[in-house]
Symmetry: C2
Subunit: 244 residues, 2 copies
C-alpha cells in the first residue's frame, strides 16, 4: 500500500490521491519542492474521517525527514481517532497574493501549497514522545529546549504525539501576474497582484516576566517585520545542521 | 438531520461534531463570533472524504448569511465528489502568534479558528452561478464586478460553484500571554508572545497594464501595510451594506 520511496527519494509517485488535476503544470511531486513549502510553515490543516464525516483541524506541525509530527492533548477527538493508524491528509498552504485580472474568470490567488497523504499513528514510546517534544520546541526556536523547564511525567502522559510518514505528496504553486485572454489586454481595466505576507511583529513580554529573564538566541530569528516563512525556513535549516 | 436554526439564530447547537473538547472555555457556538472569524478570511480549508480517504483542499471562499461558497473548475476532484450533497468540514484559521512559556508544556499558539459542518452541494442554476460569481468578486473588491469583463457562457460552464449551509459550527480562540504553572513564574526564563499577522503589500501592476488603466475604488481598502483581516472585514461590511 505504501508507495513512497526510501530516504534517498527525489520524488513521490503520482497516484490517484496526490495527482494535481486542475492546472497540472502548477504541480510538483519532487521532495525538495514539497519540503521547502512544509518547512516555511508552522500551521497545517489535518483532515481525517470518522464514519464518513470529514474533520479539518488546524494545528502546529513539524517535519523530520519524510515524517510529519503534530501533537495535542490525549483527550482530543482527532488524536483518539487516529489512535490506530488512520488515513490522514495534511495540508500546508501559504497565501501569497490576490491576482486581479481584466476578466472575472481569470481572477486567481498566488499560493504555495502541499497535500501530504499517509497513515497517521501515535508516537508510542516514552523516548519517542520526549524526542518529539524536544523537536517541537527546537524546530521553531533552535536551542530553546535547553533553556526551558522540561515536561513532567504527568504532562507527558497528558500529551499525545502523532506522526505520519509521507506516503504520497504533491506541491501546487501559482506565482506571477494575471494571465488574461489575449484579446483582453486592450481593455483599460486595472490588473495586477495584491501581495500578502505573514509578518513577525514585536515580541511581547509576559506581564509576569521575571526581572532577570532575557530573550535568548533561540528567539534571534524572530525580528520585527521579518516574513514568518523566512524565519521558519532558517530555523528548520539550523535544526538540520545541528543533527548528529 | 440538519440541526441548525433559522435565519434569526444566535447560536448553533453543540453536537458531537462541533463540540470543542480540548480547552472548552476557548470555544463559542455564537453566530456573531463565528461570522467575525469567517469574514476576516479569504482562504479556507475544505475537508471531504472519498471512500474513507480524507482530503484537505485550500481554497478561496465567501459567506452569504449562513451559507459558505467556494468554487473551482468543473474538472476538480473535490467538486466532482461533492456533486450530490456530501458532508464537508470547512475550516478557517487565523494564526495570531506563538506563545512561549517557561515550561515546554505550556507553549502554545494564539489563533482564531472556525470549523463549520454541513452538506456541500452544487449551485445548480445559471442564475445562481452568475450571482455566486458576482459575490465572489465583490466580496473581496466591493464594486469590482461592474468594472471587469463578465464571464462568457463557456467560462461559466467550465466553473462550478459549491455552497454549504452551515448546519453546525464552532469557533475556537486563544489570545493573550503564556499561562504557566503558578510555581514556574519564579524561573528567569523569557516568556511572552511573538505576534504574527497577514499584511497587505504594495499592489503590483500587471506588466501588460493598459496605459489608461487606473486602480479603482474597488481596491481602496488594500493599502500597503494594512492587516489583511481588517481589509477583508471592511470589504465584507461594505457588501452587507449594499444588500437590497
Amino acid at each position: 500500500m505504501d508507495q513512497s520511496f526510501g530516504e534517498n527519494a527525489k520524488a513521490w509517485p503520482k497516484t490517484s490521491r496526490n495527482k494535481v488535476r486542475r492546472y497540472p503544470a502548477r504541480g510538483s511531486y519532487d521532495q525538495p519542492d514539497v519540503y521547502k513549502i512544509l518547512d516555511a510553515a508552522l500551521l497545517c490543516h489535518v483532515a481525517y474521517c470518522i464514519d464518513g464525516q470529514p474533520y479539518c483541524t488546524p494545528t502546529a506541525f513539524w517535519r523530520n525527514d519524510d515524517r510529519l509530527f503534530w501533537h495535542g492533548s490525549s483527550a482530543s477527538r482527532m488524536l483518539r481517532t487516529l489512535d490506530h493508524s488512520t488515513p490522514a491528509c495534511v495540508t500546508v498552504s501559504h497565501f501569497d497574493g490576490i491576482v486581479l485580472a481584466r476578466s472575472a474568470f481569470h481572477h486567481s490567488i498566488n499560493y504555495r501549497s502541499v497535500m501530504a497523504f499517509g497513515n497517521a499513528e501515535l508516537v508510542a514510546t516514552d523516548e519517542g514522545k520526549l524526542e518529539a517534544a524536544r523537536m517541537f520546541v527546537n524546530r521553531y526556536f533552535p536551542g530553546r529546549w535547553d533553556a526551558i523547564k522540561r515536561p513532567s511525567a504527568q504532562e507527558m502522559k497528558a500529551t499525545t504525539f502523532i506522526t505520519m510518514r509521507i506516503a504520497e505528496a504533491s506541491a501546487k504553486t501559482r506565482t506571477g501576474p494575471p494571465i488574461d485572454d489575449e484579446g483582453d489586454y486592450v481593455l483599460p481595466i486595472w490588473a495586477g497582484v495584491v501581495p500578502v505576507q505573514m509578518v513577525v511583529g514585536t515580541a511581547l513580554d509576559c506581564p509576569r516576566q521575571h526581572q532577570q529573564a532575557r530573550r535568548g538566541a533561540d528567539l534571534s530569528l524572530y525580528r520585527d517585520g521579518r516574513p514568518l516563512g523566512e524565519v521558519l525556513t532558517e530555523a528548520s535549516e539550523a535544526v538540520s545542521r545541528a543533527k548528529p
